[in-house]
């Protein structure tokens, strides 16, 4: 710490602090335009000028100048105020001052500073800019006439998002922020640039002209898409969520969001929301009252008893899952599951065996503290973009090494010095076993490993996985495997990340075991910045696992049970298996066959349209409860708006049904959470108060052991292409189809093919191709990209209009042919 004087106040600050940071720490505000706490100091705007006595009264920028011992700083002398006024005058010289029609008014740093410094006239004259406004994409409007050239958009796009869509071009008197070849913005549309823009140059188009900033109620919440657990601020007016607002102090991610979080909120107030219960009468779904619908469901549950099964989405709150379980137990139903079953097997079977706990030992906060990140599949960026930002920052700012084992390259591969090993699809488990084998052979084993249960058996079982043997079938060389193994083993702190989810059937319990073995052998657990993090798909996937929402025969066999008649009644809470589960025909047949199908949903999904009763439920923005993020951060949400139409929360619906079945309905989400905190391991002692705004981690108690994973043999079908499924960056599950933002940039399914395969078959971009597998065929648009290796194609799974499960039956690798 250093001692210094700011405005006659004796203060202390860390020696790495800048004057701006030191002042802020001590409650002294210095005005800024170009500075953002997440970005590197830049010093472009000169608003933060201060005087430092030791520098002979010169005016120096506070945001770039580090503090030194004994510094005497004045932040607002008459000279400084005069200088800042002039900075504003110069900025306003070119700025159009069209605040009455500018969406930024009220939330504009330039406007606020102009008022604060009472700049009401200008001594200078100059022309305004005459740049063309970029209206070319539906999400981000770029009006460079309002730009003050602070560079925050260009810097956040480079430093955190690592996309590099924007920069200063024509530097000099004509400088402006431009895109490649001075064309329209075409990027991944995360909107980070919009969030940091201090003026109205970059605006969120979906929110344009919807409301003034000051008329919005700002409600804090947690994003309803992926498992990262990002915090949101919802801008609400007239009981509608109109936008998400940027709060740089919110969450571990400092307000950073991805395209889904920032632009995908429209499903909350979508016109397509179901507002009344629907009951099938004479073969048609017709609107009905709640009493009628619930009575019907309760009667049916009572009759069906043990032949009832249930599947829930992992987007329900922890409390809802607990109450749903209670309902099913009251009804005598013993078969329930979530997320297709296999999508959480890495946790419930894999980690449960290897760590004695169905949760990841590491957290997202470990990423930036690590020395080496081993990412399995570049898709980790697409499935969890804000985790991807953490990886970007670790690699770019902290010098963390990045190694990627993947079946295709991706955005992460482009990071500085990233080493991407592209293997043949489906061979990751064998490769990880081989890494473990190298660690054993090269005596890189940590001292703690030999004492763990299963060590001797593992040593024996791994004998077959020499790099030479594995390299023959996986597309990597033995040397590559050996180098990766030694880099991993010798890194002080190494963290392994891998996504799981419905589109990743290859990321199984065995993969989790293999990864756990590697971390245990090399002794990477229990250190900050080291360990293993499984990235679960939905916002409450980890919660569903923790609440134990899984009993009986499992999701796959529940579908089979419906088809063979052993299950007569199926309750689907928010799950859309017709689109998201493998093998469309099989799911369709099962849902056709099942006698009674109840669906609680926000929308009339493909699955809900087949139901006998549809119960309209509300979104996360309308309910109270807790979500558990992928790293077991438990967070509390409160309603931001009143419930839409007559929709009810799943909590209320399950409670009402319990009462109708003669059980004791639970009280409130709060009382159920109290029950959870008394009974669920790791949640002990939690309360809404202890969760606070940041949430609280549920600790994971480890009982490590080695479990030998079976590496599945991949059969190659010559002459065919290997189809791997996955998530598109813009989507998460099937919910994002109801968010306008994601649908603007990625409206339909596609099949991504390598340039070589496209050239060989003469496919052009956007050609409508027939994709055929043993299971069926379908049409998808071709998307040709440089990232796909020859012989491998990729298709995202989210889309109800053309679900990829028509050709994909749940195998990690599906062999297909393509034809025009």
């Amino acid at each position: 710490m250093v001692n210094l004087t700011i405005d006659d106040k004796q203060v202390t600050a860390p020696k790495t602090a800048t004057i701006y940071e030191a002042a802020k720490l001590n409650g002294i505000a210095i005005p800024i335009l170009c500075h953002d706490k997440k970005l590197k100091p830049f010093g472009a705007c000169r608003m933060c000028l201060v005087e430092v006595e030791q520098m002979k009264g010169r005016q120096i920028p506070a945001c770039t100048t580090p503090v030194t011992e004994g510094m005497i700083i004045r932040t607002s002398t008459p000279d400084i105020v005069k200088a800042r006024k002039m900075v504003l005058e110069l900025l306003l010289l070119n700025h159009p001052i069209d605040c009455p029609v500018c969406d930024k008014a009220g939330d504009c740093d330039l406007q606020n500073l102009t008022y604060e410094y009472k700049v009401d006239a200008n001594r200078f004259t100059d022309e305004k800019f005459h740049h063309e406004i970029d209206y070319n994409n539906p999400l981000i409007e770029r009006d460079m006439n309002r730009c003050v050239l602070c560079g925050k958009c260009a810097r956040i796009c480079d430093e955190i998002v690592s996309f590099g869509a924007l920069t200063f071009i024509s530097r000099g008197i004509e400088t402006k922020i431009g895109c490649e070849f001075d064309e329209a913005l075409n990027c991944e549309f995360c909107g980070s640039c919009v969030s940091v823009c201090p003026v109205g140059s970059l605006l969120a188009r979906p929110f344009k002209f919807k409301a003034r900033f000051w008329s919005l109620t700002k409600n804090k919440s947690v994003c309803g898409y992926c498992g990262t657990g990002c915090n949101l601020t919802l801008g609400v007016k007239d009981n509608k969520v109109l936008t998400t607002l940027y709060d740089e102090n919110q969450g571990f991610h400092n307000g950073q969001l991805c395209v889904r979080g920032r632009f995908g909120y429209q499903f909350i107030n979508s016109d397509k929301r179901l507002t009344k219960p629907l009951v099938r009468k004479n073969g048609k779904l017709e609107e009905a009252g709640w009493d009628e619908a619930l009575e019907l469901v309760a009667a049916r549950l009572k009759d069906a008893g043990a032949s009832t099964a249930a599947l829930a989405t992992a987007r329900l709150t922890n409390e809802e899952l607990v109450v749903f379980k209670q309902l099913l137990q009251t009804a005598g139903c013993g078969n329930y599951d979530h997320s297709a079953g296999y999508a959480h097997a890495a946790l419930t079977e894999g980690f449960a065996g290897s760590f004695g706990a169905s949760a990841s030992p590491s957290t997202i906060l470990d990423i930036q503290k690590s020395d080496l990140l081993l990412v399995i599949k570049t898709d980790a960026y697409e499935t969890h973009p804000v985790v991807g930002f953490e990886i970007n920052m670790a690699v770019k700012n902290k010098g963390t090494l990045l190694k990627i084992l993947t079946d295709k390259s991706g955005k992460l591969s482009k990071l500085p010095d990233a080493r991407t090993l592209v293997h043949t699809p489906g061979s990751e488990i064998a490769i990880i076993n081989s890494l473990a084998k190298v660690i054993l052979d090269n005596k890189l084993v940590d001292a703690s490993a030999a004492a763990l249960p299963g060590y001797a058996a593992l040593e024996k079982e791994l004998a077959a996985f020499t790099p030479e043997a594995v390299s023959a079938q996986c597309g990597l060389t033995a040397v590559e495997i050996k180098l990766l193994a030694s880099a991993y083993a010798t890194a002080e702190k190494a963290l392994i990340l891998f996504p799981v989810g419905q589109a990743y059937p290859g990321h199984t319990a065995a993969l989790a075991n293999a990864v756990a073995n590697l971390a245990l052998l090399a002794g990477k657990l229990g250190k900050e910045g080291g360990g293993v993090l499984c990235l679960s798909e939905k916002n409450n996937s980890q919660g569903a696992v923790d609440m134990g929402f899984q009993a009986g025969i499992g999701a796959g066999r529940i579908i089979d049970g419906c088809a063979d008649g052993s299950i007569t009644t199926l309750f689907l809470a928010g799950e859309n298996p017709l689109v998201s589960y493998p093998d469309h025909a099989r799911v369709q047949a099962a849902l056709d066959k099942v006698e009674f199908l109840v669906v609680s949903e926000m929308f009339l999904t493909e699955t809900a349209a087949m139901a006998d009763v549809v119960l309209p439920v509300c979104s996360f923005a309308e309910k109270e409860g807790t979500f558990t993020a992928t790293d077991r951060r438990v967070q509390h949400i409160k309603p931001a708006i009143r419930k839409v139409g007559q929709s009810r929360s799943d909590f209320e619906i399950f409670g009402a049904l319990i009462a109708k079945l003669g059980g004791v309905a639970p009280g409130t989400p709060a009382s159920v959470f109290a029950e959870i905190s008394a009974t669920v391991p790791g949640y002990t002692g939690m309360s809404y108060a202890s969760l606070g705004v940041e949430g609280q981690f549920a600790p994971v108690e480890l009982k490590p052991a080695f479990v030998m994973p079976n590496a599945p043999a991949v059969t190659v079908e010559p002459g065919k292409l290997a189809l791997v499924t996955g998530s598109a960056l813009y989507h998460n599950g099937t919910l994002s189809q109801y968010g306008e933002g994601p649908m603007h940039v990625c409206p339909e399914g596609y099949v991504e093919i390598s340039r070589a395969d496209a050239a060989a078959s003469r496919f052009a971009e956007n050609d409508l191709l027939t994709v055929s597998s043993a299971g069926g065929s379908m049409k998808l648009k071709a998307h040709i990209s440089a990232r796909m290796p020859q012989g491998v194609v990729f298709a995202p799974y989210h889309f109800g209009a053309n679900p990829v499960n028509q050709v994909w039956s749940g195998a990690p690798v599906t062999w297909i042919t393509l034809a025009k």
């Binding site: 590099g164 924007l166 920069t167 200063f168 071009i169 024509s170 530097r171 895109c179 490649e180 070849f181």
Partner: protein, 158 residues
């Protein structure tokens, strides 16, 4: 597309630089010599050779006034408009050249031979008004001598 040998040469030069970015001007100038100006294709090629994104190359290309991001004539006449040359009649020289060449500042003659551009100080203030054509400096070029100057250029390039 640039010929393979040229690409190899550029790759070699980039690998000899301490950072890739520092070789950017060199690479852009070579590509400009090849194409006559730095086309979008050339920016893409420069980016490939330098291991930068096209946007990063664009940022540098648009900063330097002697890197041309638009097509130019065979000879680009840079007329200094900074203060020393201005005080010695640079402004009149530029106007005179406009008349002689029958083009406005910033444009290329109909026969595609000359492009007339104003530029920043050429460091040739002692011989103001200064002019640069290609990589050769001229000065002083008086407004009265503008016509003779252009004639000289045509003759020497013929």
């Amino acid at each position: 597309m640039i010929p393979e040998h040229m690409k190899q040469e550029l790759v070699k030069r980039v690998s000899g630089a301490i950072t890739n970015r520092e070789a950017a001007v060199d690479v852009m100038k070579e590509l400009q010599r090849h194409y006559g100006w730095l086309s979008d294709e050339a920016v893409q090629e420069a980016a490939d050779v330098l291991g930068l994104s096209p946007l990063q190359v664009e940022e540098l290309a648009t900063f330097y006034e002697m890197i041309y991001r638009r097509p130019v004539g065979r000879h680009v006449i840079h007329v200094c408009d900074s203060v020393s040359c201005w005080s010695m009649g640079g402004e009149s020289l530029l106007q005179q050249l406009e008349r002689v060449l029958e083009v406005n500042v910033g444009a290329t003659t109909a026969d595609g031979i000359f492009t007339l551009l104003p530029c920043c100080c050429l460091g040739n203030c002692g011989k103001a008004p200064a002019v640069m054509v290609g990589e050769r400096l001229y000065g002083p070029v008086t407004p009265e001598g503008a016509e003779a100057f252009i004639k000289g250029l045509i003759e020497s390039s013929a």
